[in-house]
């Protein structure tokens, strides 16, 4: 008998459901961890907030964490971003758009704000990036 919780009863897009339920890289780095840059974005309309933390080593993301308060889609966006960012350099990070997030997570129109939340959180990280992000 299949597990009930695998059945996605609310019919979220499959990538959203999987990431919401597994939430890889949820959490945060201990304060003072070298190379960590934190960005945060919020959507007042949807009362959601996403915090993204990227830990840089030699110009690339070595590890990532996220925290989110919001609907399952915004949580999934945080989880996807944290996973995708690992191994990327600044130029690759800057190339991510909300449209790409929507495509990857199959986010429908009425949830477009969740993808924008992700893009904004990543931009906030990039805005706070020192000239040389390597520790």
């Amino acid at each position: 008998m299949p597990l009930v919780e695998d059945s996605n009863p609310f019919a979220y897009p499959a990538p959203v459901w999987t990431l919401f339920r597994s939430a890889p890289r949820a959490g945060g780095f201990a304060p003072g961890t070298p190379g960590v840059v934190t960005g945060e974005a919020q959507s007042n309309a949807a009362r959601s907030r996403l915090r993204l933390q990227l830990r840089f080593e030699r110009g690339r993301v070595a590890d990532a964490r996220f925290r989110a308060y919001g609907c399952p889609t915004s949580i999934a966006v945080g989880a996807w971003l944290a996973g995708w960012a690992v191994g990327k350099d600044v130029r690759e990070l800057a190339g991510l758009s909300a449209a790409r997030l929507r495509k990857e997570l199959e986010i429908p129109d009425h949830r477009a704000h969740c993808a924008l939340l992700g893009e904004d959180a990543l931009r906030a990280v990039l805005d706070r990036l020192p000239e040389d992000p390597s520790p």
């Binding site: 009930v4 609310f10 949820a26 996403l50």
Partner: protein, 409 residues
């Protein structure tokens, strides 16, 4: 140096149904009672006949309808002649409210008419009131206090010389608060104002005796008490006579108040469900209240930041409504896919709007949205309550841990 947090991983192998206030399963004995009127009985193969037909099988079908009428009446201390069968409580509420106002001339504009209801009524009552407003009826929507209560004095103060009807529910379907219907009914009788009560969540849960409580019109539904969906009843008092204008015109069935061929099997199902409810009333109420308190104690002892919605001193046995601080409502509901429960009144979606009932109690949108309505039934076990409590505790803790609010890292 980095903390990864992981969602709770315990899993339930099957759905735990905690939405009995939305609907209940058909009781086996109710199904058995209905079947002969769908497919014919073993000794009487024509029981599916039209109960309005003037022949043997028709008379026997009619007899079944009348037995059911007596069973419905018995559950609420009424006379069988005071029961009108309808398609369900939405129709009963529409017929009571619109029928009473129309009978009293409110819709023809021949008199000024006023109606009193509350902000926390079921949507079908509120929408009937709103329709009447478009027809020139003035409506006062009483505001409950923070516990969802409406004091009898509040009702009486809202009356005007033009008040035709007061319509209030006995038990609120979202928060389970029980209104003091006996006191309100006595006060309205003294003042000569007609009183309609939506008793859908009260029937079979609380004792109702209309010989003692002077309600004029009272709505019932079968599927909330282990009967079939699609059938209900409206109690219409004979002494003094509550008069209604029919809302369904046709062959003059149901004393002319509700035309349409009687659905014998549905009506027999409603009757059987009422008989069973009357039998089990005391036992069910005690057990359900124990389950409710057990769940509340488990949640409240494990989690800070909970709000029990409604009045713990006057709540129906089968309902518990809780708001959870620090979690987002949709994520909360989606994180509990193995629990069949509701965020308010029968919302099928995790993305439901915040409840207007909770907002009427003064909860802000965010907290109103982060609320769960647990409702219990005859099949709910202690194990299910324990398992559900555990899941809710785990998921609320997880979502709070996941939240960036109040955290440095």
């Amino acid at each position: 140096m980095s903390a990864v947090i992981a969602p709770a991983t315990s899993r339930a192998a099957r759905t735990i149904y905690l939405d009995y206030a939305a609907t209940t399963p058909l009781a086996p004995q109710v199904l058995e009672a209905m079947l002969p009127y769908l497919r014919g009985g073993e000794s009487d193969p024509l029981l599916w006949a039209n109960p309005a037909s003037a022949h043997g099988p028709g008379y026997r079908a009619r007899a079944a309808v009348e037995r059911a009428r007596a069973q419905v009446a018995a559950l609420i201390g009424a006379d069988a002649t005071e029961i009108i069968f309808t398609s369900g409580a939405t129709e009963s509420n529409n017929l009571a409210i619109k029928g009473a106002l129309e009978f009293h001339g409110a819709l023809r504009g021949s008199r000024r008419a006023h109606l009193v209801s509350s902000r926390t009524e079921h949507r079908c009552v509120l929408d009937s009131c709103r329709y009447l407003e478009t027809q020139g009826v003035r409506v006062t929507y009483l505001k409950p206090d923070a516990l969802g209560r409406i004091a009898p004095a509040q009702v009486f103060e809202a009356l005007t010389p033009d008040t035709v009807l007061v319509s209030l529910m006995w038990v609120n379907n979202e928060i389970g608060v029980v209104y003091d219907i006996p006191a309100i009914a006595r006060g309205l009788r003294e003042r000569g104002v007609l009183f309609h009560v939506d008793a859908v969540q009260a029937a079979g849960k609380l004792p109702i005796d209309l010989r003692e409580v002077p309600v004029d019109l009272l709505s019932l539904s079968a599927h909330k008490i282990y009967g079939p969906k699609g059938v209900g009843a409206l109690y219409v008092r004979r002494k003094p006579r509550a008069r209604l204008a029919p809302q369904m015109h046709g062959g003059g069935h149901e004393q002319g108040m509700r035309s349409g061929t009687l659905a014998t099997h549905q009506i027999v199902g409603l009757g059987a469900a009422c008989a069973l409810a009357a039998q089990r009333l005391g036992e069910d109420a005690v057990r359900l209240a124990q389950l409710r308190e057990r769940l509340w104690q488990r949640l409240a002892s494990a989690l800070p930041g909970l709000h029990r919605n409604g009045d713990p001193q006057a709540c129906a046995p089968h309902l518990l409504n809780v708001s959870f601080e620090g979690v987002e409502g949709e994520a909360l509901r989606a994180s509990l896919p193995e629990l069949a429960l509701s965020s308010g009144s029968a919302c099928s979606s995790a993305t439901a709007e915040p409840s207007y009932v909770l907002r009427a109690l003064g909860r802000d949108d965010e907290l109103a949205n982060a609320s769960l309505r647990f409702s219990f039934g005859r099949a709910t076990s202690v194990e299910e309550i324990e398992c559900a409590a555990q899941r809710v505790i785990e998921q609320v803790r997880w979502l709070r841990e996941l939240s960036p609010f109040g955290k440095d890292g």
